[in-house]
């Protein structure tokens, strides 16, 4: 993923892009008031892998996704998806695009299978495909149950099943983990990378930054409807300038040794923060050679959250609705599993952002 307008990031050849927007603009009008949701967005998503689409509440993420899906019309700008421009080739393009939107999108009175069956028939897909995708998302056992009786996790999985019906080349997921319990979040996190193995490109919008950091190969960060930064996660977080936290019996002496060796060292209480090394083992070797033995060594990498906050200036804010508060609580309890799970405020209405 890349965008030519973003400093230091090259725009890939157009043939490598599954999504490309140029100068995309969307303005909502409400009782004479104008709200610019997307303001000249240049977005590029390379083929293959999982691309994260990040932004604080009201940044224009959902508006952009809706424009990509033909649900909303842009006021200006160009959209090219899978090499075809909108709106001329919208039907042909959407035949190869699957989407899971944040809010419920099924008839509550119908069973999961019936909902999928009607969608498959409307797109001229073989009915056998319904059984396949239900199996793929492990919903076969409850397929005959009414949608209104589904748990949130089941609803998300049914949404994913619907998105997979068309055997898409591009899968757009808008907050797929929102409101899920820890098992559901982990399930979704395991599922998303699996999808890319078959060549599907995934565009993932999420406010759970740790989720994005774990599953995405590249990200685009937007705010105020404009692209702030785009690139590979590894590049953005500066893997090469990772820091190491070192616990040693004589921090002052150890700092001198490491400074002499050419590393940047900061003393943090009883610990050292070391930068500028290729791999942590060089630290242990340097210190052991001077009879200083390390009792703790841990990598301190910048997180997507810290990068995001630095970029947007937005601090995480509590989501408004209980489901999202639950997601926050889940996030708070998951660091042991995932490292860190920072959260950006989500749009409770799913109207934007």
């Amino acid at each position: 993923m890349s965008a030519s307008t973003v400093e230091g990031v090259e725009r890939p050849a157009r043939s490598d892009l599954v999504v490309e927007t140029r100068n995309l603009r969307k303005v909502y009008r409400d009782r004479g008031r104008k709200l610019v949701a997307v303001d000249g967005l240049d977005l590029s998503v390379e083929r293959g892998g999982v691309h994260g689409f990040l932004g604080p509440n009201g940044s224009g993420k959902t508006s952009t996704i809706r424009m990509l899906l033909g649900l909303t019309r842009p006021d200006a700008g160009e959209i090219t998806v899978l090499g075809e421009s909108y709106p001329a080739h919208l039907p042909a393009v959407l035949a190869k695009v699957g989407a899971v939107l944040e809010r419920g999108q099924f008839a509550p009175d119908l069973s999961g299978r019936k909902n999928l069956d009607l969608l498959a028939r409307s797109a001229g897909l073989p009915s056998g495909r319904v059984g396949e995708v239900l199996e793929q998302v492990r919903l076969t056992a409850v397929a005959k149950r009414r949608y209104r009786g589904y748990s949130l996790g089941m609803r998300r999985r049914l949404g994913l099943a619907a998105a997979l019906l068309k055997s898409p080349e591009l899968l757009i997921l808008d907050e797929p983990s929102n409101g899920l319990d820890p098992a559901g979040i982990r399930d979704m996190r395991d599922t998303i990378p699996r999808l890319t193995e078959s060549g599907v490109t995934v565009l993932l919008s999420s406010h759970i930054l740790a989720e994005v950091q774990q599953v995405c190969t590249s990200v685009s960060i937007i705010d105020g409807g404009v692209l702030l930064k785009a690139g590979r996660v590894r590049d953005l977080l500066g893997e090469s300038t990772a820091r190491t936290r070192v616990g040693v019996s004589d921090p002052a002496r150890a700092a001198g040794i490491l400074l002499d060796a050419g590393y940047a060292v900061t003393i943090d209480g009883a610990y050292l923060l070391v930068e500028g090394h290729e791999h942590p083992d060089v630290i242990t070797r340097q210190l052991a050679a001077r009879d200083l033995f390390v009792h703790e060594l841990s990598a301190v990498r910048p997180t997507l959250e810290s990068f995001f906050l630095k970029l947007t200036g937005h601090r995480p804010a509590g989501p408004a609705d209980p489901a999202e508060r639950a997601a926050d609580e889940v996030a708070e309890h998951l660091p042991a599993l995932t490292g860190e799970l920072p959260v950006i405020a989500a749009d409770p209405e799913g109207t934007d952002g």
Partner: protein, 323 residues
Amino acid sequence: MISLTRVELARYASRRAILLLLALAAVLAAVMAFQSAWDSRPATATEIATAKAHAEVLAGRADVKTDLDRCLADPVSYLGPGATAEECRAALTAAPTSYLPRDPLNLRSTIKGNGIGLALIVIGLLVIAGSTFAGADWSSGSIRNQVIFEPRRSRLWGAKAIAVTLASGLAALVTIGGFWIAVYCVAVARDIPHDSAVVHAVGWHVLRAVVLAMAAGLGAFALTMVFRHSMATLSVLFAYSIGGEILINLLPLNSTGHWSLGANVFGWLQTKYTFVDPTAACTKLGDCAGPQHLGHGPAALYLAVALAVVTLASWATFRRRDI
């Protein structure tokens, strides 16, 4: 398009609320058919004997005899030009049938009674069903998925419109047609006149009711696709029908009664619909316009124009709106 229409028909038939409305229409049709048969059941021997007794009592009254004698003496001055003594007896002699508790079944009068009543009820229920059909798509958000799977919005709107029209027509045909088949069978069983002219009149009535039901279902669907909420549609229809009547009466305009929705619905369903126009000019007492007539043609034109405006607005809105 046929495949998409089948999908939308399946969607229509799968909605629980719609099935309940259709079941209610069928139950009401059955109840009204039973009521028509029951309220016109043949008089019992006791009822006939009682009626005869009442007639004899009346015939024996002095004032009635006096009136009859006067009429027989000079029928023309009593009943008017051309009157005969036979007509005097018919008019002033109490017949036992006048004292029977109910009239026998009459297919023509049933059209104006339970026939029109049932048609209005079924059409009302199909309006709610058509509105629910579209409203559920919007309230559940499933319309988004439908558009993602069929991005050609005109086709999607068209398939839904055809489906709701066909389903409304079928539901009206089954319920209203079923009612008339039941009533016709009762008439045959009781040996009540059911000549071809009567059957013809009933047939045209059923056809007009079914066509109106199709239009009403389509109109309700189209309006809901504009408002995205069935309650908004039903409120607008209520305001248009009831509020429109009030407005027509309040406006300082004469002879505007034929613009009311109700008058045109009756004008279409009923043959030679006659109504007193409340807005006809009355400059002084007794100078009001007489009863007005509204034929099928003008009523059909009024309803067709209203439907065309709503459906075109709905289609155009759905093609361009953000979902």
